[in-house]
Amino acid sequence: MRLFIYFFLIGMVSYSQNCDLNLQGRVIDFHDNTPLSGAVIIVAGLETFVMTDFDGFFALEGLCAGSYTLQVSHPECDTKAVQVRMPYSSLLTIKLEHHLEELHQVTVRGSAAIDYIATQQENRISKEEIENLSYASLGDALKRIPGVSSLNTGSTVVKPVIQGLHSSRVLIMNNGVRMQDQEWGVEHAPNVDLNTAGSISVIKGASALQYGGDAVGGIVLVEPARIVRKDSLFGSSIVTGATNGRGGTITSSLTKTSESGWYGTVQGTLKRFGDFESPDYILSNTGIFEKATSLRVGLNKFNYGFEVFYSYFNSESGILRAAHLGNAEDQFLALNNPRPLVINDFTYSIDNPKQNVSHHLAKARIFKRLSNFGKVEMQYDFQFNNRLEYDVRRGGRGDVPSVDLELTTHTLAVDFSYDARMDFKANGGVMLRYQNNYASPDTGVRRLIPDYDKYDAAVYVLGKYYIDDVWVFEAGLRYDFNHLDAKKFYRKSLWEAREYNVYFPQFEIGEVGAQILTNPVFDYHNFSGTLGAAYSFRNNFELMANYSLATRAPNPSELFSEGLHHSAARIEIGDLRFSQEMAHKFSLAFSRESGRFQFTINPFLNSINNFIFIEPGGVEQTIRGSFQVWEFKQTDALLLGFDFDSKMKLNSQFDFISKFALVKGYNQMTDEPLIMMPPANLSNALLYKNKGLNNLRIELESNYVFRQNEFPDTNVEMFLPISESTEIIDLSTPPAAYHLMHLNADADFKVFGNSTLSVGLTVNNLFNTSYRDYLNRLRFYADDLGRNIVLRLKINY
């Protein structure tokens, strides 16, 4: 610190000639460009400060040639540091961001990631929307964004799908930490408690290279609530109760902040639901019990700071009992029965099959501002993920998990950001990561994902150049190195049937009975990059164009899968010969963010070489009967489509909101559609709001999900001993289109003097419509959720 001051002073001294320069500027709101009066501009290193006038203008006199750091603050905005190099002849425009909470404090955020990216569409879910969905999952909340859908296993295991892509292709950043929670599996939901988030953003592409180069689908950024620099102690609690599942959630947080920059937050959530219900029957064994807590302590000075963060997440969720199947014949019987084959009375207890996942995340981050340069940040994070899956088993083995995976990850990252110039910003950094997966042998079931060690290293650089007030250019490059060292027992029969003994004799270590121990070692060199431009028109129209190249190494599931996947009643086979996926994504975004009619239209084209997907490839006989074999394959894929959203201000009280998303995916080698592409989705809502009447908001939403008419025919014919006939197992025909209505209302009341009580009522599926969703893996066996009435109380204190 002291060193830093000396540095600064020396810098000042050397520029101490020619000290009669003037600087004229204006401070405006970042969002709507309204002038901010009463903003304070302090010149760091000098004792000078000025305040803006009624129109936001200010003037500084007697400055020397050279660089200055201006600290700009406003009672309702985040404090911002601005670098300016004198002489500066034009008007310096400084944009401040209003903070969302009504707390009249000055906020400082020591993250380089305020502007994630300038030339690719970024959609944000506000704190308010997150609070309304307090009872739901991260995946449910993300569906509010056009172009984001979800891949479900029932209603509690919800994975985000961005413009048709999911799992390893969607990166989830939780408070600056890339989630390592076995995201490769389709029935592995993100281990993030929605209630820890202050805001959630989605970048529908790989352009934010500081987070990774493999975001073929996109990036989800879960950011904690902003910390304000003022002596204050505040908190909030949200309690929800829901009729469907007959349960609810309670979440509370308490934050202490201080003028000196010290802050701390504790937060916790409990969620408990019993069996959910479709309009006509109980979905037996679909309850959930979730516990989450987080702790955040830090110091946020203008020039330096640190943060320590820990979060724990545990979720136990039942998988629909009727979806547990012995073989393809059972599957055929279940498919052809309009109701699930197992319907029991409502219960809160969660039996097998079920999953129980825990995730620990700890991080420490420090940052330091460097004068005339920008900022350096360093972060270490540790994650431990334990995934237990329990199956319906014989011989009292139900208490022993069938899957027991422990994934441990250490990451060290250093990021330099350069913001000393108004027109040019850059950041660059390095990342080192070590990951170990341990599959417990106590399960008595062969490991689907083997033991492995993985080493990753990355280096990246990103730059943004503001040519003038209307043009911005952006470019970035990233290189990732992955080294994977696994130990896996293969069945000798499979090892030889796939000719691995010819391709990979060097991996063979030894033989135990009918199994062969192998040591697959792979190195991947991945290059990724981005190039984009944004142009601001008059009248607040904006056009962004971006190209991004993402390169993703195959994940352990795609490489090593080999055996029966019980929850899907199918045999899944990976391939050791896979190379990396390379995605070229072109996206445009044309938007208008102010005025009576606001909209964004976002067309995209994603051309993916070596796209890895899973597809049925035959039938295998076993003593348990026949099974469909699903093989991972590589092809060249093309995804294209567009997202649209708009808001029409009808008058001061009524808004009309429309969203539409369309994505088409094709296998270019076979000219067939890709499997599991989200169907077109249209949502229209009428919003009434009245600030004068207790901040009343009433929203009526209509959601129409089209039928997916483009799908590959993956049906197989199979001889079934029970009927003594050959039958088609139809797992490819998508369900019909459906239309749901939702109602949401909330109002605020002043209680106990200073506190605010918000009361909200949500009715999902207002007309109790029966429907099945193409992207719900349990759609073959049961209808989706029926009507759900949720009552929500939130108190701020």
């Binding site: 547990h324 012995g326 059972d330 011989g395 070590y434 042998p441 060690d453 295998e620 006989q621």
Partner: protein
């Protein structure tokens, strides 16, 4: 700066520690729950016939092997008893015991394919509630014929559903643990 160094040390030590432990040998998993082999002993007309359905590569690519020691005699009463083995274990484990212990959660069903003259299929063993289990059963052969005979074991069937106690699988539900089809010849 001191903090930085401390962090770096912490990071490298954890790296070192974890990589040490992961170098341990990976233990092979012997699947204890798997049934690889179904043996059916048919006794009738003074002869013993052995049927065997063997799948040593459960979800691997090799198909099961099916053996029938000899044709069945026409117009004969046969008593059948079954043994289930897990031959992945050494010595092979008798899985019949597990099924007997959980008799109330299991039931066998027998399906006679078109053309095969088998009748009077009768359960000879029962669970604690007097519902059929089916590790042993009897049947009568008719005139010379041939066709498929399938033995299915269901886990957690609904034994109270209509017809299930009489051996009708239609309403049984549950998950299939065994589905073994034997081509039989009656002569």
């Amino acid at each position: 700066m001191k903090n930085l160094r401390l962090l770096a040390i912490l990071f490298t030590t954890t790296l070192f520690l974890t990589s040490c432990s992961s170098d341990d040998d990976v233990a092979p998993i012997v699947e204890e729950e798997v049934i690889t082999t179904l043996k059916v002993t048919l006794v009738g007309g003074g002869n013993t016939i052995m049927l065997e359905y063997r799948d040593l590569d459960p979800d691997g690519p090799t198909p099961p092997t099916i053996t029938v020691s000899s044709p069945l005699m026409a117009n004969t009463n046969y008593v059948a008893s079954m043994t289930l083995l897990n031959e992945l274990e050494n010595p092979a484990e008798d899985m019949t015991i597990e099924i007997e212990e959980e008799a109330d959660e299991h039931q066998f069903f027998y399906l006679t394919g078109t053309g095969l003259n088998i009748s009077n299929l009768t359960y000879l063993d029962f669970d604690g509630d007097g519902k059929p289990l089916g590790l042993s059963f009897s049947f009568d052969t008719g005139d010379a014929s041939q066709g498929d005979f399938t033995i299915i074991l269901r886990h957690e069937p609904n034994k109270d559903a209509p017809g299930v106690s009489e051996g009708n699988i239609a309403n049984a539900g549950g998950d299939t643990d065994i589905s073994a089809t034997f081509p039989l010849v009656i002569q």
